[in-house]
Subunit: 321 residues, 2 copies
């Protein structure tokens, strides 16, 4: 069995190799492949660790020659993420990657791909609720696929939203202002991003306006909700990165399904939209919603590309033979 080129990539090395453009391209490619039936995905599952959980999600993409999984222990001590990458042609293990930064970028990129295929072409304004670690790449990705001129950000702590506005305006060269309420953040925007850990909905039906595209990218736990059921009902189309995973993790859809105000059969897989098999938007007044859970084949696609780049550029540490 080939044993060459088994790499360990640290967070710093991944950060050096990875940018949003790479992630957007890798995800677009894997969504198309999935739509063609070339990708196998296993939903995340969790085991208790006493103070938190042990998380596990995996995927294979035989045509591309890769299999991989992400694992992490989450709890009070924080989280650190790893992806193991295997070759599917007898290579066995080929890489172990530290995958915190990777996850942040790929989660943003998933919303970027969704926005590109679901939002109005002329979308130019963004509201974002949440200003944490995952918020940065959410905004960066949306700005990469639309010509965004104005951004409003709300989060509960003033210092956080103001820092976020200043940092992101600088990084993206776009006007970013902190606002005083979530309602203000949503008012009049073309794209609304929810990226919080909120248990109670931060996006209500009243906040959704005709023509809006919403990325709900925050929680991935059935115990939490970012949108209320009125907002779910108002959406003309709901897309998921993976419906099986949404059925066990997407609190707002699970809640709406439980009360009979939403049916799972009405959701569309994002890959079908990307592949052109489904239409996301029939008019400029439709409200579209992307429910992002974060799935294994997204990790696999980005990490496969990172591995190839690392080899090309001679980055990473060889694992012992």
């Amino acid at each position: 069995m080939p044993r060459t080129k088994r790499l360990f990539l640290t967070e710093a090395e991944v950060d050096e190799l990875l940018d949003m453009g790479l992630a957007l391209k890798a995800l677009e490619e894997v969504f198309k492949a999935r739509s063609a039936g070339e990708v196998y995905n296993q939903s995340r599952y969790r085991l208790p660790t006493g103070s938190g959980s042990y998380n596990f999600m995996s995927a294979t993409w035989p045509k591309r020659g890769f299999a991989g999984h992400k694992s992490y222990v989450g709890g009070p001590g924080g989280v650190n993420f790893h992806v193991m990458l295997y070759g599917t042609n007898g290579e066995g293990l080929i890489a172990l990657l530290e995958a915190g930064r990777m996850g942040q970028v790929r989660t943003g990129a998933a919303s970027g791909v969704a926005t590109n295929y679901m939002a109005r072409q002329n979308a130019s304004t963004v509201g974002i609720i949440g200003s944490g670690y995952q918020a940065e790449t959410q905004l960066e990705a949306v700005c990469a696929v639309r010509d965004i001129t104005d951004v409003k950000v709300f989060s509960r702590q003033r210092v956080n939203r103001e820092n976020f506005a200043a940092n992101m305006a600088d990084r993206l060269g776009t006007k970013v202002v902190a606002v005083e309420s979530k309602e203000n953040a949503a008012e009049g925007v073309d794209v609304l991003i929810a990226v919080t850990n909120s248990v109670e909905p931060v996006v209500t039906g009243e906040m959704l306006e005709p023509g809006m595209h919403v990325n709900a990218a925050g929680n991935n736990s059935w115990t939490k909700r970012e949108l209320d059921t009125h907002a779910i009902r108002k959406a003309d189309l709901i897309a998921c990165d993976d419906i099986e995973q949404a059925k066990i993790e997407c609190g707002e859809l699970m809640q709406a399904a439980e009360t009979g105000e939403f049916v799972w059969d009405s959701t569309v897989r994002l890959d079908a939209i990307v592949a052109g098999l489904k239409t996301a938007r029939f008019s400029d007044s439709d409200i579209t919603l992307f429910e992002s859970q974060g799935v294994a084949f997204e990790d696999l696609a980005v990490c496969a590309r990172l591995y190839e780049l690392a080899l090309e550029q001679g980055i990473g540490t060889r694992l012992p033979d």
Copy 2:
């Protein structure tokens, strides 16, 4: 988050650290812990890779402070196994182990523990059907828990069974003879081991004799069977390492359940026997059967011990910080 002492252990390093005594002790400990509700286990699942499959299984043991999973790609190019070990108290990743040899020893050890708690105390003779990689540790483990004086081995290729007999007689200091048929291997023995990849049953009901203990340790695929349904019916007690996993992998039990000749509720978890909560054997004429699938918490228990030993002995390569 603590980042120290993240180890990579190669097959050679694991082999240096590991012996059957360590594995037997680690498994006995984890079976008792599982019976006390201290262990969480996720059954193996598989995703297609085109030419084979991508396999995962995971477990957590918070009280002991460890979580871990095994992953491997199997196919025409062979298999190589890895275990990732995490600390559950904020340590994150602590080790990546090559786990082929580990799996071989732990699978033997599981049958050793089962034999110790299920076979007659005075068992002294063994028949073994199969002479492959996994057969060696099956026999070694049984010889570690009973005073075995005579072993008969059958496998289809004469050269294989004769080599196995010569090698194992030498290693174990026990009489080991190659025999001409599986029926001959089973005849009159106290412990019968089936460790084959057979699709068709190699152990039939006719071959089971009163007082016998059987370890069925070969296949872990629903497409295969080592015992026929008559043998399943003849067993007075059937123990599984994990019943959930047996329900999706144990071909002979699934087949017998399908035809209504066996009910899952009649099986007992090995951990309950080890913990003294269930009785395996009510008389010297009972026939007992251990159905081994190989489960994640077994890997976790052995690898946790290996990690500790590696630290103590300064073995392994540090992963980059």
